[in-house]
Amino acid sequence: MPPIPTSNNMGLSNLLEVQNLKTHFFTSEGIVKAVDDVTFKVAPQETLGLIGESGCGKSVTAHSIMRIVPKPGRILGGEIRLGLDKGVVDLADRDMSGSELREIRGKEVSMVFQEPMTSLSPVHTIGNQIRETIYLHRTRNRREATEIALDILARVGISNPDQRITEFPHQLSGGMRQRVMIAIALACQPRLLIADEPTTALDVTVQAQILELIKELQEQFHMAVLYITHDLGVIAEVCSRVAVMYLGRIVEYGAVRDIFNNPQHPYTVRLLRSIPKLGHTRRGEPLAAIQGSVPSPLNLPAHCGFLDRCEEAMDGSCNRHVPALTRVATGHSVRCFLHSEAVDAEGLELTRGAAAPPAVSQPGPG
């Protein structure tokens, strides 16, 4: 393995350090390398954006940090170091006991999910579901727990918390439910909040409110946020640094300013170009879309994942090896042979590439 330039800091200056994380799914059709060698850091009180198309592995990364990867999936390697008061723990450590893990879930690290409609149990009251976290991590006293729940509900902007606390999720709107989810996540004042596309399922106006709310609460609670989205606009609004993911790997990583002004990876370049800009696009001119579609994540080829869609692909390197994540400027790294010769993994010889599946997309049935 060649050295990874971004991993040098072993101290506790960061809250979360994910290094060489590998989470694969062992399905009957083959191995899906949903997360393959992912490395990034989150500093205390910072907001890191994780952006990519659906299926690129960003949610699985989040699930790996929470250790809630669903069944055929397994964390195969790497480290997820989390800085706590008592020292550093490695969440990827499979020997970690269940109770240790549960101490961290909901208390040190919380998560808000994409679907507010299904994230809450339909047969338990809002109060019941908020208090559950509080009972687990803060107090066993029912009155105290209710106090905390009412306070947090008020802080996430739910009017009339006294009444809401006795209501069921189906009595609330989608935006309200997401506020409740955020309240549950923040009830124990975690150091890190993982927000997995929290606004994707909501109306545009509600989206803005929720984003605003997360920003506000982050300042109030002094917590770090790992913000997962496919929306570049959201990244620009809430994040200080961003990691661009493509097919289970981080392809570009740096400060939001650098990446927006000076993108280096062809994928990031095209991603930015595909945003419609008011006033910059002439009427009738088609939007720049990225040609092709994401290859099947099954039995990934051992070459650059963006090869088939890349206009700048070079024979001999791009189709033979996986490039390494290489630093191109201070705090800005790219995984592309246009910028560095460094190789992350040797490709298979294409001539005997029976193992390589077709690089065609899977058209929908029917």
Partner: protein, 326 residues
Amino acid sequence: MVSYLLRRFLYMILLIVITSVVSFVIIQLPAGDYITTLAVRYAATGQVVEQATLDGLRIRFGLDQPVWVQYYKWFFNVLQGDLGWSFQQVKPVSEIIAERIGITALISLLSLLFAYTAGILIGIISAVFQYSYIDYFFTTVGFFGLASPNFLLALILMVIIFNMGGSVGGLFSTEYLDQPWSWGKFVDLLKHIPLPMIIVGTAGTAGVARVMRATLLDELEKQYVITARSKGVTEVRLILKYPIRLALNPIISTIGWELPAIVSGTVITDLVLGLPTVGPMLFSALVAEDMFIASSLLLFLTSLTVIGTFISDVLLYSLDPRIRMT
């Protein structure tokens, strides 16, 4: 809320009235009536009964009137607790069937409890340990439980218990057989009840376990379970509080068809086991065209399931906040 319950209640009453019509009409279907059967029986023993006597009997029992008049009279008498006369035993029907109805209701209720307790437990174990040996074992047993006729299961279990030296058949030891009810007799009844309870409940257990397993497997992957897990809830508590609680709703709605199956089951197994319940009596009354007794028993059995369905509606209503809203 009150209106929902009231609506279901009125619907139940309507169903019972329809049931009573169906029960009465079905019993009326055979050509001839009890008097014909009687005449045939006398003729078989060589006695000659005059037509006038038979007609007299018909008038006495009201059998000469049109069916709808007979139904009308019968139903209004039933409402007042008078179930009519048994021709065979020349006694009021209510007197004959009172005890049997109690025992039948008891066996059905216990079988239902057994089927749901065992079925839910097995379903949970199978779902939580999906594709384990224990799951395969229960699934296989369940398949056979659903595929074998109840009455044969009863016979085979009887043979097994008999060979092990247990007592078989009947619900009472001989010393209590014709005794009036006492504490001792009741205890004796409880000792005899597990066998019919298990036999009748087995088929139901398999059905409930199947539904429970499928629903639970479905619920275990829902997002709210993952939410709870990410809160730091322990796995055992997680499963108990969320998926099982949610899987209960579909399970309770199965009472609507599980209860009729169990009542059906008691009729036939009780015949095999020779239990003093409604089943064997319905059978003999049907064969003898003892119409009032047959109609009353049929009405009782069907009402039992209609009332059961109503109770399951009420349970479902109180368990699911989503229904409560509408």
